[in-house]
Symmetry: C2
Subunit: 418 residues, 2 copies
C-alpha cells in the first residue's frame, strides 16, 4: 500500500510491547478479567455488529456452514468470556527461570522466559479467534496485531474495541491489541514486511492462506497446517479397544484437524478386525475407501481408495483404509503420507509401541489413545494458540508459554574472558 | 538449476535422517571419535587440498586476512579433531524427556527431544565450520547438507570425504553429511526451495549472506546476525571493575560478535571514569568516537561519533562512547541501536541491575561481567552452532540441543475424547 497504515500499527504495537515487557502478571490478569467482564456487559454491541456481518455475508451468498461459523449470540459471547477467564487462571509463563546453573568460576547463569514482543495473527472467519488470540498474547505479555477475515470485520472490530477499552481501564496500553480495521488484501503483504517490528506471524486458517503467508513473509512464521492423522491397529492390538479408538478418532468430531483420516491395519488381524469395524463405521455414516486387500476382504461396504486418498485431509465422514504387512510398512506409510500432526498405534506389544513412538515423525504420537486427544486443553496447556505442524520453536499444541522466548541473564563479579 | 543435483542431495539426506533418528547415542559417539581419528591420520590430504584453495585464492587476489582464515595446517586440523572429541563427550540431547505429566484420567504425556531431521548450513570461508557443523548435527542425530564458500571448496571437500568415510566405518549412512561439491551460485537457491526435505537453514557468515538466505528461503531460517554489544557503566558502578570489563569487552578479541562496540556512561560518574578509561583504551590502540558530552570532557583523545556509529559493528579496535543522563536513556539507546546480541551493565545497585536485565531486549544480558563471556563454550553448552540473534526456537549461543525439536508421546489405555 502507499500509505503507512500498517507501519503505524506495527510501531504502536512495538511501543506497547516495550511497556508490557515490564508489566506485572497481576496487572495482566486484571486486564484479562476486565476484558471478560466487558465482553459480557457489552455483548449487545457485538451482536449488533455481527448482524451487519451476517447481512453482508448473506448478500454475498456465503454457505450456511460459513454463516454458522460467523454468527454470534449471547451463548457464544459467554464462551469467549469464559475462555479469557480460563487463560487468566493459567500459570504465568513470563519470568519463569527455565534453566540455570553456576560456572566453576562463580558466574551464575539464568535462562529466563520473556515475551516474544509483537505477534501478528492472520485468521479467517471465526470471530472468537479475536478474543482468544488477544488473551493468549496478553497472558504472555506480547502485543498483538490481529488481521481477521473480511466477512467478520464488523464483529471483530467491536470485540477489539471492547478489549482495548479494558486494557485502558487497568492502565495498560490500548495498542497491546492492534486490529487491522481496513480490509484491503494488500495490507497483509504490508504486515508481512515489518520484520523490524513484528517478531512472529501465526496464520490460522486454510492451506492456501498459510501458503500465501509463508511465501510472502520476511518474518518467521509458525505454521498450523492440516492434520492427516492415522490410527494403526497392530497385530498385538486388543481389538475391542481398537474399535473404540478408531470410532472415536473418526466420528466424534470429523471436521477438526486431529480427527483420523486413514486407518492402517496389520494383515494378521485384518480379517478378524476389519469387517466388524467397517460395519460399525459405515453404520455411523462414514464413507470407507480401501486398498485392494481391504476390498477383497469386504468389498460390499468399502469403496476404492486412490493414491490421492492417502494424502487427503477429508475433515468429513470419510475414512481411507489400508492393510499393511507389518509395523515397518505402517510407519513408512505414515511418514510418507501423513502431515506430522498426530498418529496413533493400538497395541499391547511394548516393543511395537516403542518402535512406533521412536520412528513416527509427528508432533503427537499416541499409544492406545484416540488422535482426538491431541489438544492443548486436553494436554493441560490451557487455551491453545493452535496446533503447530512446524518443528521449529513450537511443535504440536501451542499454549501461552509457546508465545515466549528466553534470555540468558549472566551475573558476574567483574568476570572477564580469559 | 536445471538438473536435480540438490534435489538428489536433499533426498539422500532425508533418507539418512530417517535412519539416524533411530541410531543409538553410542553409535553416534563412536562415529564422532572415528571422525576425529581419521582427520588426524589423513591430515596430509586436507593440507594438500588446502594448498590448491590457497593458490587459487592468491591468484584471485584475496586479502591476507582472508588467506589466514582459509589456511589449514597440522595445528588447525588438530584443533578440529579436538573440537569433535569435545562434542562427542557432551550430553546426548536426543531422547531426553524434557517434560512430562499424568492427566487426571491416567493418560501419561512425555515431551521427548528428537532430532529436527535435515539441517542445511550455508557458510563462508573457514574450513573448520565443515567439521564443527557436521559433528554438532551428528551429535543431535540430524543429517546435514553443507554448502561452504567457493574459495574453500577443495579443503571442505577433503574434510567432508574423510567424515563420510568415518560414518561408513561405524555403519551409519554416509549421506548423514552431504556436501555441495559444485560451486554454482544458483545451487543455494535450489537448496532454499527444498522445504519438504530440509527442516531448517542456518546461514553463518556476513550480513549480506544472511539477508540473501532470509529473502529466498522457503524453509525456516535461524539467523546469526551481527553483535552490536554495549557496556553500560552505571552511576552505581565500582569504577575499578568497570575499567577491567570495558577493556576486556573491547580489546581481548575485537574481531568477534560478542566484543563491545559502544560504551555508555552515566553522567554522574562520567567525569571520574571516562578520562582514565579513555587513556587506557587509547593506550591499547583503540580509536575512540564520542558524543558531544564525552568530547567536552576529553576532546584530546576522543574523535566525533556520528549517528551511524551507534549502529555500527566495527569488529575492530574502535569504540563509540556516549554519556547518558540515566538508566532509562541507556536502556533506550541499547534497544534502539543494539542488535539484541549481548549487553552488559556494571553496577553495585541491585535495582539498576534488575531493571536493566528486565528491560534490555537482548539474547544475553550481563551484570558485572564482560560481553565476551556470551559464548556457548563459556556457558557450558559445549561447542556452538553459532549465536542466534533470532527470538524463535533458539536465542543466544546455540548448542547441539538447539538442533532438536520435541514430540509429545501420549500413553493411554484405550482413552477417548469425550
Amino acid at each position: 500500500m502507499e500509505d503507512d497504515y500498517i507501519l503505524d500499527l506495527a510501531q504502536r504495537a512495538k511501543r506497547a510491547a516495550g511497556i508490557l515487557a515490564s508489566s506485572s502478571g497481576k496487572q495482566r490478569t486484571e486486564a484479562l478479567q476486565t476484558m471478560a467482564r466487558n465482553l459480557r456487559s457489552q455483548a449487545e454491541q457485538i451482536i449488533e455488529a455481527n448482524r451487519q456481518d451476517l447481512a453482508a455475508a448473506r448478500k454475498a451468498g456465503l454457505s450456511e456452514a460459513m454463516l454458522d461459523r460467523l454468527g454470534l449470540d449471547e451463548g457464544r459471547i459467554e464462551k469467549m468470556a469464559e475462555s479469557i477467564e480460563q487463560i487468566a487462571l493459567g500459570v504465568d509463563p513470563v519470568g519463569q527461570i527455565i534453566d540455570g546453573w553456576t560456572l566453576p568460576d562463580g558466574v551464575v547463569i539464568h535462562k529466563r522466559r520473556v515475551p516474544l514482543g509483537v505477534v501478528a495473527i492472520i485468521y479467517e472467519s471465526r470471530p472468537n479467534v479475536t478474543s482468544d488470540a488477544a488473551a493468549l498474547c496478553l497472558k504472555s505479555a506480547n502485543a498483538v496485531i490481529l488481521r481477521g477475515g473480511k466477512e467478520a470485520i464488523a464483529s471483530n472490530g467491536a470485540i477489539a474495541r471492547i478489549i482495548r477499552q479494558a486494557l485502558k481501564e487497568v492502565g495498560l496500553p490500548e495498542d497491546t491489541v492492534g486490529f487491522v480495521e481496513r480490509s484491503e488484501h494488500e495490507l497483509v503483504n504490508d504486515l508481512l514486511k515489518q520484520e523490524g517490528l513484528i517478531d512472529v506471524v501465526i496464520p490460522r486458517g486454510g492451506k492456501s492462506l498459510i501458503r500465501a503467508v509463508v511465501e510472502n513473509s520476511h518474518i518467521p512464521v509458525i505454521k498450523h497446517y492440516e492434520g492427516i492423522c492415522h490410527v494403526y491397529v497392530d497385530a498385538g492390538a486388543e481389538l475391542e479397544m481398537a474399535h473404540r479408538i478408531v470410532m472415536n478418532a473418526k466420528v466424534q468430531r470429523p471436521g477438526v484437524c486431529n480427527a483420523a483420516e486413514t486407518l492402517l491395519v496389520h494383515a494378521e488381524v485384518a480379517e478378524e478386525f476389519l469387517p466388524s469395524a467397517c460395519d460399525e463405521l459405515a453404520g455411523a455414516g462414514v464413507e470407507l475407501r480401501g486398498c485392494e486387500r481391504t476390498r477383497k476382504l469386504y468389498r460390499s461396504v468399502v469403496g476404492v481408495a486412490s493414491e490421492d486418498d492417502w494424502s487427503s485431509e477429508y475433515l468429513a465422514m470419510i475414512l481411507s483404509i489400508k492393510i499393511v504387512s507389518n509395523l515397518d510398512e505402517a510407519i513408512e506409510h505414515i511418514n510418507r503420507y501423513g502431515s506430522g500432526h498426530t498418529d496413533a498405534i493400538v497395541t499391547q506389544n511394548i516393543e511395537a509401541a516403542e518402535d512406533f513412538v521412536a520412528r513416527v515423525d509427528s508432533a503427537s504420537v499416541m499409544v492406545n489413545a484416540s488422535t482426538r486427544l491431541s489438544d492443548g486443553g486436553v494436554y493441560g496447556l490451557g487455551a491453545e494458540v493452535g496446533i503447530s505442524t512446524d518443528k521449529l520453536h513450537a511443535r504440536g499444541p501451542m499454549g501461552a508459554a509457546d508465545l515466549t522466548t528466553y534470555k540468558y541473564v549472566v551475573y558476574g563479579r567483574g568476570h572477564l574472558r580469559q
